[in-house]
């Protein structure tokens, strides 16, 4: 007992700034409109958070390596469209989902290849693929949403985005499972250690025998995979694959990750932080809607909150040093 105590570090308050910010936000909104914490609204909120949270989980790995993935929104739209059209064409929904995920992973891997073998910085590589896959989505869909037909009758398809399990929206359950997997992967496995190492010092990681290129490709694959998962859920929620789905979702995902304490310089970040960040952003939108705040002002408030959250974090970090 005693031994364990000495090895335990003292409670590090600064690690929980995002959580503190979230709690403060929740309290403020609740005081202004108690409906906010009605169970029904909280479930709504969680469901609303889920698409962004899933993307942000993948983004966390990417950002840990000091990378960035701007293409998630386009991958989301592209894979959503493919899954939807497969379902329309008679493919069983679960198979269509799997194919969508596989393609998402593939497109993610392609990002990784451009970045590692092509030596293009992540920002530019994924900016380019963002444009390409958005264009491809338009070409594939002819600019039309894909909807109707078997999509309305497939229980699996409907259930993924709209279903409930034990009274909890199914997307929320998926997000929770994804969170646990990502948490374990990042914080409890060798893979996660290598990710941190790569982000902290790529050269040293390479010298230590980490296959950095392979690792990076896997990480972008994960990001693509999660974008596709989010895409399938969104398609199911909307009952339709929109060619312009997911536009600028990368920004919310990045913001969630950074609010959660990750550094865009790499090597620093936590899965739980990202989850908190995603919840904060969702609470903000949901809360401001409940408070009936004019949508123009919503943007201003959102920007200010992100800025403050991150500034508090970086200030406390500074004091710690």
């Amino acid at each position: 007992m005693d031994k364990a105590k000495t090895t335990k570090k003292k409670f590090d308050f600064t690690k929980y700034m995002a959580l503190v910010a979230l709690i403060i936000l929740v309290i403020i909104i609740t005081v202004l409109n108690p409906q906010f914490i009605a169970p029904n609204n909280l479930l709504n909120l969680l469901r609303q958070a889920s698409v962004n949270a899933l993307i942000a989980f993948g983004m966390t790995f990417v950002i840990l390596t000091s990378g960035i993935d701007l293409s998630v929104g386009s991958i989301l739209a592209f894979t959503g469209a493919i899954s939807a059209s497969l379902i329309l064409g008679g493919t069983p929904a679960w198979l269509a989902a799997l194919i969508g995920l596989a393609i998402g992973a593939l497109l993610g891997a392609l990002n990784g290849v451009f970045i590692t073998w092509g030596k293009v910085t992540p920002f530019i590589a994924t900016l380019a693929t963002m444009t390409i896959w958005r264009g491809a989505t338009y070409v594939f869909t002819g600019g039309n949403p894909i909807t109707g037909g078997k999509m309305n009758t497939s229980f699996f398809f409907q259930f993924v985005g709209q279903g409930y399990l034990f009274g909890i929206p199914f997307p929320v359950i998926i997000t929770l499972i994804a969170f646990i997997i990502c948490y374990v992967l990042l914080h409890k496995t060798a893979f996660g250690r290598k990710t941190f190492a790569l982000g902290g010092n790529e050269k040293a990681a390479f010298v230590a025998g980490v296959k950095t290129k392979k690792l990076l490709i896997i990480i972008y694959t994960i990001s693509g995979l999660f974008a596709a998962l989010a895409g399938f859920i969104l398609t199911s929620r909307l009952g339709s694959a929109q060619p312009d789905a997911g536009m600028s979702y990368e920004m919310d995902a990045i913001a969630s990750t950074v609010i959660g304490g990750a550094s865009l310089m790499g090597g620093k970040g936590r899965m739980a932080g990202t989850l908190v960040g995603a919840l904060l952003i969702a609470s903000l939108s949901n809360g401001m809607n409940l408070l009936g705040i004019n949508s123009f002002y919503q943007q201003i408030v959102k920007g200010v909150v992100i800025l403050i959250a991150v500034m508090i974090d970086s200030q406390t970090q500074k004091n710690r040093e």
Partner: protein
């Protein structure tokens, strides 16, 4: 285990770095590898451990031709490489650093944090170290980081451990611990390849020494059979005599006076330095010398104290102010704070004085070229021209470039923090001569150095710090190492 490298060659582009090196090492010995900056020592080791591919030559391990595919491969075969530049992960914990890429896993495939912690602690305890394995690597001192690196080598049961300048950043104390460890391991038939620029260590710890020059192995000796002169001669290809040129100071007015300086890691430091004087600052690593000077120069915050430049009280709130007052600062961390390695020598040299090249707001490029060329010549920087990148030079020459920029900015007061760290003997001597030339022209120099012979030979007076406190000042003339060490370790 026995390793034999023969006729190793290696080129980077058109630059032939290794031109046929022979080197061997076996279990139970410490074999030193000496040579000037850029002689190819690190490159040779990178080849041995699979980080680089050789162009020609053979490597025999226990009489079998061997090429390791990667550093990991070499480790699996019992060869561990502690690099010259710390290859660690500052944001990660000590355990995670030690077990990176060789994590202990539970049956579920997850990392077994508990077991890893226990083992890590055990290895460190065996080395006589009480480092907290949960603390962040970046929070450790350089010496502690070095200990972790050594623990890492022990962890893989290394038969041969390569140490590339391990003591460059260690305190005397830490060095002693390191040597004790090396001796113990040697008696357990671990072999060492030991790279260092510190001559005296040859006779303290090494059994054999191989000297390299310009990509060739020149000679191999039993250390007990060879004198320092011979090694130095082999390294630089000529006799350089005593490389401390000696001091003949002509002191002028007080150039800089500090009164009761206090800051994060130092308290109530007062000193003065005269024109034409070299004031040495000695102390163990972590004594707060660097912190004092960083705060004085305006890089960090000074919490209290007064500074007088040329007799007038002056607030040095930032480096730019200090530079305007004629102060220059050669930082101990050359790569991160001294040079912009990707940019040309000229850009680096001209940076602190760039504002003086303005003609109607535009930089007078011709004047700048001339300025850089002149300084490169005057400080005998070995470079093809002023346009090559600073990063492409050897350590000693990089140090001269940093000096050049401060000389060029017209500094009347120069703070040199570890000016010869990682610099070979030839270059060292040139830097000492430069310091003498500068003081002859009434420049005041403050020199922080952890190299005792250097402090004793190149200072006029020596301030000694211990745990952020001023222990006393010694007149360098006739001072002994023991005198300094006594103050530096807190004794009175």
């Amino acid at each position: 285990m026995q390793i034999e490298m023969k006729g190793i060659e290696k080129s980077f582009g058109t630059n032939k770095v290794l031109r046929g090196v022979d080197f061997d090492v076996h279990s139970g010995e410490v074999h030193a590898l000496m040579g000037e900056n850029g002689a190819g020592k690190s490159t040779l080791m990178n080849i041995l451990t699979g980080l680089l591919k050789k162009d020609a030559g053979t490597i025999k391990v226990d009489n079998h031709d061997t090429t390791y595919a990667s550093a990991l491969d070499a480790e699996h075969h019992g060869i561990s490489f502690i690099h010259q530049e710390m290859n660690n992960f500052a944001e990660m914990s000590v355990v995670d650093n030690m077990f990176l890429n060789k994590e202990i896993k539970t049956k579920l495939g997850l990392v077994d944090q508990k077991k890893m912690r226990k083992e890590a602690r055990q290895y460190l305890v065996n080395l006589g170290s009480d480092i907290d394995v949960d603390s962040k690597m970046g929070d450790l001192t350089v010496g502690q980081q070095q200990m972790v690196e050594i623990a890492k080598s022990l962890m893989i049961n290394a038969k041969i451990i390569i140490m590339d300048e391990p003591t460059a950043a260690l305190t005397e104390n830490e060095t002693a611990i390191l040597f004790k460890t090396i001796r113990e391991l040697r008696s357990n038939s671990v072999g060492f390849i030991y790279i260092s620029h510190r001559m005296e260590e040859l006779w303290q710890i090494c059994d054999r020494v191989t000297v390299m020059r310009d990509g060739l192995s020149v000679n191999t000796y039993q250390t007990k059979d060879v004198a320092e002169n011979q090694i130095v001669h082999d390294m630089v290809g000529r006799d350089i005599g005593d490389y401390y040129p000696g001091r003949h100071p002509h002191l002028g007015e007080v150039a800089l006076k500090a009164e009761h300086l206090s800051g994060k890691k130092f308290h109530d430091i007062s000193f003065e330095v005269h024109e034409g004087e070299i004031l040495g600052f000695s102390g163990l690593m972590g004594a707060g010398r660097t912190e004092t000077m960083r705060a004085l120069f305006g890089i960090d915050k000074l919490s209290s104290g007064k500074i007088y430049v040329a007799g007038k009280e002056t607030k040095l709130t930032s480096p730019s102010v200090s530079i305007k007052k004629g102060i220059g600062f050669l930082t101990e961390d050359r790569k991160n704070e001294g040079l912009i390695t990707e940019q040309s020598l000229e850009d680096n040299i001209a940076l602190p004085s760039i504002d003086t090249f303005r003609k109607h707001g535009i930089i007078d490029k011709k004047a700048e070229d001339k300025f850089a060329d002149m300084l490169i010549k005057r400080l005998t920087v070995k470079a093809n021209n002023a346009q090559v990148t600073a990063g492409s030079l050897s350590g000693g020459n990089q140090q001269k470039v940093v000096l050049a920029k401060w000389v060029g900015s017209g500094s009347k007061i120069l703070i040199l923090d570890e000016p010869t760290r990682g610099v070979d003997v030839g270059a060292k001597k040139e830097i000492y001569e430069l310091m003498n030339q500068l003081t002859d022209r009434h420049v005041a120099i403050i020199m922080i150095s952890s190299d005792l012979p250097e402090v004793l030979s190149m200072s006029d007076r020596i301030e000694v710090l211990y745990e952020g406190k001023q222990m006393g000042v010694i007149n360098a003339q006739g001072a002994t190492q023991e005198q300094v060490m006594k103050l530096a370790t807190g004794g009175k």
